[in-house]
Amino acid sequence: MLSRKIILVGYIFAILLAQRENRIFWDGSNWNRISAKLGKGNESVYQIKASHLNGLLDGRLYYYLKAWEVEPLLAEGTYNDPLDLLRHKELISALDNFYSDLKHNSIPVVSAVIIENMRIGGISEIAIYRYIEEIRFWVSSIRASADSISVEILAAKLDKHLSKPFDISERYGRGPDYKRKEVLIKPSSPLRKDEEDKSSWYQKFTKGWGVGISGGINQWNSMDSLNSSGSSYNFIIKTPLHFRTDNLESIIRFETGVINFSSNLNGQQNSLFVQVGLRDSSIPIINRIKFDIGVGSVIGTRSFSSGFNFSVRKNKLDLITRFYSSGTSNKAQLPSNWVLFSMKFNF
C-alpha cells in the first residue's frame, strides 16, 4: 500500500516537473502576472514594472559602455536598438497594451520595449511585424535548445566555473603585471607549478629532510629493568625509496642522532623508518596521519619501533609518538621498552 503511494507521489512529481518550461527572459506572462497578483489599479504594479524597466535600461547601458571601451564599432552595432524614446509611464502603458494580446506572451520584455520604441520612432508596421515574428522564432528556438541541452549547459557552466576558480579577467582590476596562478582543481594539496620550477637542485635534494627533538619515558611495565627517562635529538633524511599513488603514500626515512637516558646512558641511535599513510581520504585529518615502523640500534642494541605520526602543519611540522622495544638487551641498564615523543621540523 505504501509503495503504491510512493509511486503515485513520484508520478505526480514527474508530471509537475515535466510541465515546467525553461523561461529565459521575463516575458508577457510575467508582465501580466504582476497586475494579476497585486490588482490592476494598484500603484505598486507601476513601481515593480518601472523597476524592471530601469533594470533593463541600466543593464543595456552598462554593457554598452563596457563594450564601447573595448570595441566601439561592435558596440555601436550591437546596441543600436532604440530603447529610450518613451518615458517610463508611457512605456509601461504601451507594454500593457502590447501584452494584452495573448499571442505576444512569449515575446521578452526587452524585445517588447524595442518594438514599442520602434513604433514611436516611425518604423513601418510591416517591419515591426517582421521583427516580432523573428523574435518569436528566436525565443522558441532558444527555449527548445535550452530544454534539450539544459543538462549540457549546466555541465558546461560547472566546467567553466571550476576551470577558473579565481579567474577574473584583467579589466576587473588586475593590472597587466598580474600573473595567473595555476591552481589544480581539488588537489590533495594545492600545487603551484611556478614555485616547483623555481626550486634549485639543493632544495630539491634536501626536500623531505628534517631535524627533530624527542623526549621519552621507559616505565612501560613493572618488568622494565630501569626506571629512567630520556631525550634525543636527531637528523632525518628522506631516502629516494618512497612511492606515492593517488590513495597511498609511503616514505622511507633514515634517522641518526644522539640519545640520552637519565641513567647516564648516552650514545648514538640510528634507525630506518617506513611511514605509510592514506592521501585521498574524505576525512582530512586522516590524510595527515602516518603509521611508522622502524628498525635500528640504540647505544649498540638492536631496537624495533612502531609509532604514529601526525602532521600539525602539512609537510612542515610533525608530531610523532613511537613505542620502542630493544628486545633482549645485553646491556642491563638499557630500558627494554620505552615511549618516545618527537617533534620533527621538515625542510
Binding site: I24, F25, W26, I34, S44, Q47, I48, K49, S51, H52, L53, N54, G55, L56, L57, D58, G59, R60, L61, Y62, Y63, Y64, L65, K66, A67, V70, E71, L74, G77, T78, Y79, P108, V109, V110, S111, I142, H161, F166, I168, S169, R171, Y172, G173, R174
Partner: protein, 147 residues
C-alpha cells in the same frame, strides 16, 4: 533685501551643483526602494527582484545578440559570473553590500557582479580591486558624460 537676494542667488547656484549626474541605479536608489514601497517587505522584494531580472535579461539579450556578431568579443565581454546566486540570495547580499555607505555610488550592475564574486568565494584582494576599479570607472564615466 540685498542679503536676501544674495542668499537666493547662492541657493540657485548651490542646488544644481548638489545634483549628481547618475548613469545607473546605485546604492542610494537601492536603499530608497524600501521607502518607495512604503516599507512593505514583499513589495520591496518584488521591486528589487524586478530590477535584478531587468539587468540580467538585458545582459543575456545583448550577450546573445553580440554572440551572433562576434563570438570571441561576446564571450570576453560577458565572462563574469552573474548567476551564481539566486535572486533571493542576491537581494540579501546587495542589501548587505549597500549597507556600507562607502559602496553607495557603485552602480547596481557592478554590485551584482561583486555580490556574485562574494558568493563564489573569490579572494578578497581581487574583490577589493574590482570594487576600486568600479568606483574609478563610474567616476570616469560620469565625468565624461558631464563633458
Amino acid at each position: 533685501m540685498k542679503r536676501l537676494l544674495i542668499i537666493i542667488i547662492i541657493l540657485i547656484i548651490y542646488t544644481p551643483a548638489q545634483q549628481m549626474d547618475r548613469l545607473f541605479w546605485n546604492g542610494g536608489d537601492w536603499r530608497r526602494i524600501e521607502k518607495t514601497a512604503n516599507y512593505d517587505p514583499e513589495l520591496t522584494y518584488m521591486m528589487k527582484v524586478g530590477y535584478i531580472n531587468g539587468v540580467l535579461d538585458a545582459r543575456l539579450f545583448y550577450y546573445l545578440k553580440a554572440w551572433t556578431m562576434e563570438q570571441a568579443f561576446a564571450d570576453s565581454l560577458y565572462a563574469e559570473t552573474v548567476d551564481y546566486l539566486s535572486p533571493r540570495e542576491l537581494v540579501k547580499v546587495l542589501d548587505n553590500f549597500y549597507a556600507d555607505p562607502i559602496n553607495g555610488y557603485i552602480p547596481l550592475p557592478s554590485a551584482i557582479i561583486i555580490c556574485n564574486m562574494f558568493g563564489e568565494r573569490i579572494p578578497m584582494d581581487n574583490i577589493d580591486k574590482y570594487i576600486r576599479h568600479s568606483k574609478e570607472w563610474i567616476n570616469r564615466m560620469i565625468l565624461e558624460n558631464n563633458q
